[in-house]
Symmetry: C2
Subunit: 331 residues, 2 copies
DNA sequence: CGCCTCAATGTACACGTGTACATTGCCATG
DNA sequence: CATGGCAATGTACACGTGTACATTGAGGCG
């Protein structure tokens, strides 16, 4: 009389076994792929399970399986529409592969340590990080426990930590080339490179290629890569006719600033962003930008997770995802 | 020799007990509030735990505690910036109260049943729903298991299901009044009322108040409340000088459509949106709109969850959260 | 000193599940 | 018919934890 017939308690495999007239092990086997159960008993068990509203308790299962199929998503800066889309795609991809995403917002700037620590209590099967990269120390602790971490477009190499990174070098290079093709001569790049790995690399590639082409770009630093900083920077911009914004979120601010500024029509500023957020395609912006394939990145990240779950000792890997230039009206 | 000294396995309370020279029960008590442990043993246990990198396994604990502190978030339409913000606020609020949000994207239109079914396997402590309301059938199944569901701004009353809803009636009423105050005479409301509970109620209140004021509003139906539909509808708009958009996401589309349209300057369209998404404050839009306090809604929703966890038999409740009109340039 | 109280700790069971091992019975093959 | 193989099922243990109950010992009080 372990599980009583108290209807408010969830039915257990014990209850189903009794109802179906089989042993508990057989019930368990019925819900385990590739287990040996005769068709008619399987039928009986399914019927009993349905009647009792039984569901396998994955948390109990995780104890013996040693895998919870929970995967942490650590994210900061969800006000950036690109981040929101990224989270959405990652969550969808995880669910479609039978993982459950457990969402951990890390306030921007603030360290994600405390939040990631919680994940260790939940026996997560892995962690996807799109906020700032966690400190090496913490990463090693995860590695010791055999919990894979994948960084998405963040951070320099860390031992045993895989990364999916966008092709920032190509983006920076093509941005410079495209702006020059459009006739720009005075290049600049807008980026908060100290807070973002991606920004650093896009900026560097842009500057390098710009110099190759004979137009040494000016680097305009900002505090954060957001709309407000784009707006403010856009107002101060001067003597520039080709601008690369490290992301679209900021580029929208720049466009809004330029809109209210007296423009020299024969010398308007060409503008290129990055991410292809929804707003870039809005009629008010028509922003030329680089599309990052969020869905593919998510999918790749999960592939990395899975393969490292199988073999935690793997050398760390880096997957490069391509960017494609989407030309609209700003360049 | 249950837990061997295999370093790749996580340390268990057993290991900590051995290291600290106490029983396993004492270790458990050390990590349980209000349990009786002498200060010096507590110290010993903490030391041993730190050395071994021990963390309580919440999943194992949930078996005996009957509460996992996992809370499901079911959400659809994350492309709408308001939804993204909502998810962010909910996740933050949950984490700050020591719950873990498990994010379940429900593809818009598609039923969330399958996705919510998964939650039953994870013994969630509750579910927050911001997508379409789940069918009564499914809700009752959750109720039977004592799992609280809270709907946020969605759905008509369901037995035993609490709701947090925005003051849609006031929004609709004040929208009509404000537009008329601004001098509008030909009112209209843009809304996909068949897919959204909130839209239905805002629309109804707007129409009712408009008629009171002697300007019977025209109802312009759309398929979905998104940017694209706003854009398309905005192009066809005619003979209108005061428009209430059921949400900002759509209103941005309308503004973009109007921007490229030949405007009659002495009779421009006054426009009011709803949600106060980030873009509403962008310079390109300056949208007058109603602010929904996401953070308060999230907090209230969790309060409802907690109180119903304590007493699942409670009569269903509805919490109304206020809206405040934010006046910018469109009205 | 004898007795009672109470804080501190250990023992043992429960939570719901997967699976190694043993057992059963059927069927084919010699 | 005897035997071996194999599918199907049951038994028993393990996963990591919380806690009721029993036990111990120290201290207060008559």
């Amino acid at each position: 009389m372990r599980s009583s017939d108290n209807p408010s308690r969830k039915a257990t495999s014990f209850d189903v076994a009794r109802q179906a007239g089989v042993s508990r092990a057989t019930v368990s086997r019925t819900f385990t792929p590739n287990a040996s159960v005769s068709p008619e008993t399987r039928e009986k068990v399914h019927k009993a399970a349905k009647e009792l509203g039984y569901r396998v308790n994955y948390l109990a299962r995780s104890l013996i399986n040693r895998r919870s199929d929970l995967v942490g998503i650590v994210v900061a800066g969800m006000d950036n529409p690109f981040r929101a889309q990224q989270v959405h795609e990652i969550a969808k991809a995880l669910v479609s592969r039978n993982f459950r995403p457990i969402l951990l917002p890390a306030d921007q700037g603030e360290s994600a340590d405390h939040v990631m620590d919680q994940l260790l209590h939940y026996n997560v099967s892995g962690v996807l990080v799109t906020s700032d990269a966690p400190p090496t120390e913490l990463c090693r602790e995860f590695a010791v426990h055999g919990i894979p971490i994948v960084l998405i477009n963040k951070g320099d190499p860390i031992p045993l930590v895989d990364r999916v990174i966008s092709d920032n070098a190509t983006a920076g290079r093509v941005a410079a080339e495209t702006l020059v093709e459009c006739g720009a001569k005075q290049l600049a790049v807008l980026s908060a490179s100290h807070v973002s790995y991606a920004a650093r690399h896009r900026e560097a590639a842009f500057v390098a290629r710009g110099m190759d082409l004979g137009c040494a770009p000016r680097v305009v630093p900002v505090l954060i890569n957001d709309y407000q900083n784009g707006l403010a920077a856009g107002r101060d911009l001067d003597g520039i006719d080709g601008l690369f914004c490290i992301n679209d979120y900021m580029a929208c601010g720049v466009i809004d600033a330029l809109r209210t500024k007296p423009q020299d029509p024969k010398n308007r500023i060409r503008l290129i962003g990055h991410d292809d957020i929804g707003q870039a395609a809005w009629q008010a912006y028509g922003l030329t930008t680089f599309r990052q394939p969020c869905d593919i990145q998510a999918s790749q990240a999960i592939d990395l997770l899975i393969s490292r779950m199988a073999d935690p000792e793997l050398e760390e890997r880096t997957v490069l995802t391509p960017v494609t230039l989407v030309r609209r009206v700003t360049a």
